[in-house]
Amino acid sequence: MSVWNKQRREEEPFKPLNTPSLRPAPPVPPVETKKETTTLSSMSSMAAGRTEADLLRGGSATIGKAVKIVGQIFSREDLFVDGDVEGTIELIEHKLTIGPNGKVHAGVKAREVVALGAIQGNVEASDRIEIRKDAKLVGDIKTARIVIEDGAYFKGSIDIVKTEPKTAPAPPRHPPVPGSNAAPAPAPAAAPEVKR
C-alpha cells in the first residue's frame, strides 16, 4: 500500500457496513455522485436465498422489521417498510413497498405502492398500487391503476383517477409567409396508428 492509496481511501464516499470492500478502491476519476442507500436494518437476509421481498427492496431505503416509527415520513427516494409505521408516509415521486412483515397504520401518498404486508389507512398512489397475495389493506384507495392478486384482502373503496396523458409540447408554429399559398401542415395524430 502506498501513501497515494491511503489518500484515495479518505476521499471515498461513506459506504454502508454491510458492503465491505476488501480490495483497495481503484483510482476512479471524480465523476457524478451516486445516490447513497439509507439502510436502517441489517441486510443479513440478503445472504440467504433472495425472496421476492428482497428483490423488491432493491436499492430502496429500508425500515427493518424490528423498527417502529411513529410520526411523519417524507422521502425523496424509494422506501421499503418491513417494520411498523404509525402516522403518515409521503413519497410523492417515489415507490413505497410494504414488506411481508410490514404493518403500516398511516395515510400513504406515493407514486407507486406495492403491498405485501398490512396497511390500515387511506392510500393515494398517483401511478399504481399493487396488493399482493396475502397482503391486507383496509382503507380507501385513490389511484390511476390497481392490481389485486387472488388471496389479497381488501376492505374499502377504490377510486380510479384518470391521469391525463402527457402530451408532447406542440412544435412552434411559424406564421405563414405572406404571399405563399402552401396549406398549413396537418397536426400530428394524438396516437400513432397501430396496424394489425
Binding site: 392490481v147 389485486i148 387472488d150 388471496g151 384482502y153 381488501f154 374499502g156 373503496s157 377504490i158 377510486d159
Partner: protein, 231 residues
C-alpha cells in the same frame, strides 16, 4: 362397443372424485381456499348480472359494493364503467366472528357486532350491491338483520343482486367466487361446498326482501336463482 362409446360421449365427461372440491365446514375459512389452485372455474351467462348493470346503463360515478371480496376482474369491470368500487369480504368476516356457531347467529349483540364490522356505512350510500351467494349460509335471524342493513345502506331506487340455490334435495351446495368477464358473463370458480342454512323458495325470498320495492328472479340451469331487488 360403438354404441357404448357414443353413449359416453353424449353423457359428457364424468366428474371424478378427485376433481371435486372438498366439503368445507363452517370452521374452515373461505379466504384460505380462495387463493388455492384447486378452483374449478368456468364461464356462464348471467341474466341477473346483465339486468343489474342494465339498470345503471348510461350512468357513471355511482357507488357499487361487492360483498364477495375484491378481485381484479370485478374491480376492472366496475371502475371501467366509471363507478366507485367498494369491497367487503362478507364471508370472511362471517366465519371469523361466528366461527361455526349457529346458535350465536341469533344473539342480537353478536349480530350487531358482525354488521358493525362489515356493513357499517351511512344510510343510502350505495347505488348497487353485489351480494353474490353470501347470504345463503346465514341463519334466519342473522340473515334478516343483514338484509335490513343492506336495505338501509342502499339508496332509493338502488339495486341488489344475490344468488341462491333452489335445489332442496342437496345437503351441500357449491361455493363460488364470481368474477365478471363482461356485462352478461360470469366466471364462476367453485372452491368448496357448504350446507345452505335454509331453503330459499320464491315465497321465502319475497318475505326476506319485503322491505324492497320489487323482487325479480331468474332461474339458471344449475338451479341457481338469481335475484334482483330494488329498493
Amino acid at each position: 362397443m360403438l354404441r357404448e362409446r357414443l353413449k359416453s360421449i353424449l353423457r359428457g365427461p364424468r366428474s371424478s372424485a378427485a376433481a371435486s372440491p372438498p366439503v368445507s365446514g363452517m370452521g374452515q375459512p373461505r379466504f384460505a381456499a380462495r387463493s388455492g389452485d384447486k378452483e374449478l372455474s368456468r364461464s356462464r351467462l348471467s341474466r341477473g348480472l346483465e339486468q343489474f348493470f342494465g339498470c345503471f346503463a348510461g350512468q357513471t360515478g355511482l357507488t357499487m359494493l361487492d360483498l364477495g371480496g375484491a378481485n381484479q376482474q370485478n374491480v376492472n369491470f366496475i371502475t371501467s364503467l366509471g363507478h366507485k368500487f367498494y369491497s367487503e369480504d362478507f364471508l370472511r368476516a362471517f366465519e371469523e366472528i361466528f366461527a361455526g356457531d349457529r346458535a350465536d347467529q341469533s344473539n342480537p349483540g353478536r349480530i350487531e357486532h358482525f354488521l358493525g364490522q362489515i356493513l357499517e356505512y351511512p344510510d343510502e350510500t350505495f347505488d348497487g350491491v353485489l351480494a353474490w351467494d353470501v347470504l345463503e349460509y346465514m341463519e334466519p335471524a342473522l340473515l334478516t338483520a343483514a338484509v335490513d342493513r343492506l336495505a338501509r345502506i342502499l339508496k332509493p331506487k338502488g339495486y341488489l343482486l344475490a344468488f341462491f340455490h333452489s335445489d332442496d334435495r342437496v345437503a351441500t351446495v357449491p361455493c363460488y367466487i364470481f368474477r365478471i368477464e363482461d356485462i352478461r358473463t360470469l366466471q364462476v370458480c367453485e372452491y368448496a361446498k357448504r350446507a345452505p342454512s335454509q331453503l330459499f323458495n320464491n315465497r321465502r325470498m319475497e318475505k326476506l326482501f319485503q322491505n324492497f320495492e320489487s323482487v325479480k328472479f331468474f332461474l339458471t340451469r344449475e338451479r341457481l336463482r338469481e335475484v334482483i331487488v330494488r329498493k
